[in-house]
């Protein structure tokens, strides 16, 4: 089986939906990469605050973000580290609901780093 075919499989149990089409995940223009990749170098500004939610199940990462985003100034960024697969959908969805900017997601060796910019 080619890599492309393997990537096209739905319903993967690993939680890393690496090859399922991006539009199918409803993530808009910024795809959440699969976990387990080396962290890429980040362009642009660094986060002002980092919240470690690794090992915590949703909705805890969202609760931590909601509680602490007020600790940074408008325009500054909060980084959330999380490894619950639901965070891949819930962080961008929370930002859309709350009108904050979902900047990007980057894969960590286990889990992801999500960058959120406080908008108001």
């Amino acid at each position: 089986m080619s890599r492309q075919q393997r990537n096209a499989q739905p319903g993967q149990k690993s939680g890393a939906q690496s090859g399922v089409r991006r539009s199918a995940l409803g993530m808009g223009p910024r795809p959440v990469p699969p976990a387990g990749q080396a962290a890429p170098a980040r362009a642009g500004a660094a986060p002002t605050l980092t919240l470690d939610a690794l090992g915590k199940k949703c909705p805890i990462p969202i609760i931590m973000l909601a509680d602490r985003i007020g600790d940074v100034r408008i325009g500054q960024m909060v980084e959330v580290l999380a490894d619950d697969p639901a965070a891949k959908t819930d962080l961008p969805a929370w930002c859309a609901l709350k009108s904050h900017e979902f900047v990007e997601a980057a894969a960590l060796p286990a889990g992801w780093s999500f960058l959120v910019r406080r908008s108001y």
Binding site: M1, Q4, Q9, G11, S23, G26, G70, L97, K98
Partner: protein, 395 residues
């Protein structure tokens, strides 16, 4: 006590119950046998097949009975794809929307693993509606062997553009499986399908009856060891009493439908309007208008859906959470994820036909304090400050 999980199983309709009890006495024998008892079972089975075929709009010989909606989907997908695969032309390509029932995705996954079939999951918009242009483009790809689209989403209730997708499939010469499990008995069956799957317990028939219809001229090959039952499509002889009950239920609810659906639609509209008003930080999913009459899913921020379901159950309200059939895997709902919606804290309310308006009022009264309680429990367990909607958490 109120049962709000009709999308998992509608309580058995009175007509279905009467038919089931009668058929236990008259339809227990093997319908393939030539003796008196067998012929009687065969006669009853034929009558049920005629009635159900008429309801879904197909010929009786196109319709087979399976043991569940899931088995119908598996047989439809595997049989249609494998009939068109060949050693010389390769394993082919299958298209499905990203919000199909897990049985469709699991069958596609099985084909991908076992035979190398390429699978494209076509995206949906934020209401959960399949993107017709994207779906049609995927169907037009070379060696597309099958397309799969539900008539309506089982989780958020949004109706799918089945007629437009059927037209695109027809143009590309690709057979289309329409999964009508969520809508059968509630909405007319969409035109243009090549294969159709449904489940009787969703319309008030008994558990253990699935419908599989294969249009004349659609290539299909039995994916399992073949057997002479059910047009050589399904192994084993059908549960005749349950099939009779399924037919009696569907006939009865089709007759009752117009009034019942209007009432359900109004109650769901009430839930859609009330929940965002009375539960802070909540969001209602799916299309507010082009939807099934009886299903609504909403999410409450900062709670765990399972905890919410447990607390609602304790208060006497039976609802479901997560992506119905895959909720036990603790994976986020693939339907809500594909919509880009919040996947935690979600509750699906699906109203049975005999629901009382008073029970919906009671639910709407009970919900806000229960959500508040679960929110505080979650926060206490994680040593966070108590939830206070009055304090803007993002300012």
């Amino acid at each position: 006590m109120a049962y709000f999980d009709a999308a998992s199983a509608e309580p058995l309709h009175r007509s279905g119950r009467e038919a089931l009890l009668a058929a236990l006495d008259d339809g227990w024998a093997d319908p393939a046998r030539l003796h008196r008892e067998g012929r009687r079972a065969q006669l009853l089975l034929d009558q049920a097949r005629e009635a159900l075929a008429a309801e879904i709009g197909c010929r009786a010989d196109e319709l087979s009975f399976t043991s569940s909606g899931t088995q119908s989907v598996h047989l439809a997908v595997l049989g249609a794809v494998q009939a068109r695969q060949s050693a010389t032309r390769g394993p082919g390509h299958l298209v499905a929307s990203a919000v199909e029932h897990s049985s469709v995705l699991n069958a596609a996954d099985w084909l991908a693993r076992r035979t190398g079939t390429a699978v494209t999951l076509a995206g949906v918009d934020h209401l959960g509606r399949a993107d017709v242009a994207e779906f049609a483009a995927a169907v037009a790809r070379e060696r597309t062997l099958l397309a799969c689209l539900q008539s309506a989403n089982h989780e958020v209730g949004t109706l799918q553009p089945a007629a437009d997708v059927a037209a695109a499939c027809h143009e590309a010469g690709v057979p289309l499986l329409v999964d009508v499990a969520a809508s059968a008995g509630r909405l007319p069956v969409p035109e243009g399908w090549s294969l159709l799957a449904a489940s009787a317990r969703k319309w008030g028939g008994p558990a253990g009856v699935g419908l599989l219809a294969v249009r004349k001229g659609t290539r299909w090959r039995e994916p399992y060891p073949s057997d002479d039952r059910e047009n050589r499509r399904v192994p084993g002889f059908p549960n005749v009493p349950a099939v009779l009950a399924a037919a009696a239920s569907l006939t009865a609810i089709s007759r009752e439908r117009p009034g019942a659906d209007t009432a359900l639609r109004a109650l769901v509209s009430q839930i859609r309007a009330e929940v965002p008003r009375t539960v802070p930080d909540s969001v209602v999913h799916g299309d507010p208008d082009a939807r099934l009459p009886h299903i609504v899913t909403f999410s409450c921020l900062y709670v765990d859906g399972e905890a919410l379901v447990t607390e609602l159950d304790r208060a006497g309200f039976s609802v479901s959470s997560g992506s119905a059939c895959v909720a036990d895997t603790r994976q986020p709902s693939h339907v809500l994820a594909a919509m880009g919606a919040l996947t935690h804290g979600n509750v699906r309310v699906s109203l049975p036909r005999d629901v009382s308006a008073a029970s919906v009022d009671e639910f709407l009264q009970a919900l806000p304090p229960i959500v508040a309680k679960v929110r505080d429990t979650v926060r206490a367990a994680n040593a966070a400050a108590p939830y206070d909607p009055a304090t803007p958490r993002t300012a």
